[in-house]
Assembly symmetry: C2
Homo-oligomer: 148 residues x 2
């Protein structure tokens, strides 16, 4: 976050764009963003975006989220290589949830794509069965090999 | 909320179930729930659930959300007739987002289903085009006819 402590240019024009004002940011200035895979139409993950992240996502055509744990912008795939190419950005009726249509990149050809930090295709791999959550998706790649 | 003011039986066993403890409820005791349509695989909407709503959803096999505006449980379709039959409940890797696979009921046969209070199929009908959100889904039914 060092750049916020240094004198610098005014915010990029993209951050003052009117379409960003249509989003109903929560008290922390964030909005949840769903990434849905083009083709399979699987819901891959949900992460947070702030104004800067959404503007960056639209500008570069790749998903950029706000990492709450790291307190900084997170260009998805910056460490894992699992970049998300963005085809479509939608906003819901209340303006408080974003839906991205993405191509999930960076995995082995002919293997399922990997969106989850656990090495699975989708983050939604826990299925309620009776009174238990059961993991129903295989790990495609050992996370230690993804984040080394 | 009257029932909370009246003496009554202890909380139903379902509310103390261990699988509900696996959910990472936010500071308000809520978790966002995505409803994805079986068949079309369209993402229809996102709403909030508290512990009671998620337990009720699992127990009755129909989506029950927590209405923040009304401050009460909201059995989706209770006014509109647009009930969501739930086939599958998933939890993401962090335990803080729920994904439902649903059949969206209550619409005219052979017409698209209606999940949105605006009378549209999906709540995600605003598409970012250049610097503007454009409404790209038709209203299937006048909301005044839905909520009369």
């Amino acid at each position: 976050m060092a750049r916020h402590d240094e004198p610098g240019p005014a915010p990029a024009p993209a951050l003052t764009a009117g379409w960003l004002d249509a989003v109903r940011w929560n008290a922390d200035g964030l909005v949840p963003a769903i990434a849905q895979e083009q083709g399979s139409r699987d819901v891959l993950m949900v992460a947070w975006m702030n104004r800067e992240a959404l503007a960056a996502t639209a500008a570069r055509g790749e998903a950029v989220y706000w990492s709450r744990s790291r307190g900084r912008l997170w260009h998805k795939g910056e460490e894992s290589g699992h970049v998300q190419k963005v085809h479509d950005i939608r906003l819901d009726c209340d303006g408080d949830v974003v839906l991205l249509t993405v191509s999930q990149l960076g995995h082995e050809p002919a293997a399922p794509s990997i969106a989850c930090h656990t090495g699975r295709h989708s983050c939604f791999f826990q299925r309620l069965e009776g009174q238990h959550w059961r993991s129903v998706e295989p790990v495609q790649k050992d996370p230690e090999l993804i984040y080394r």
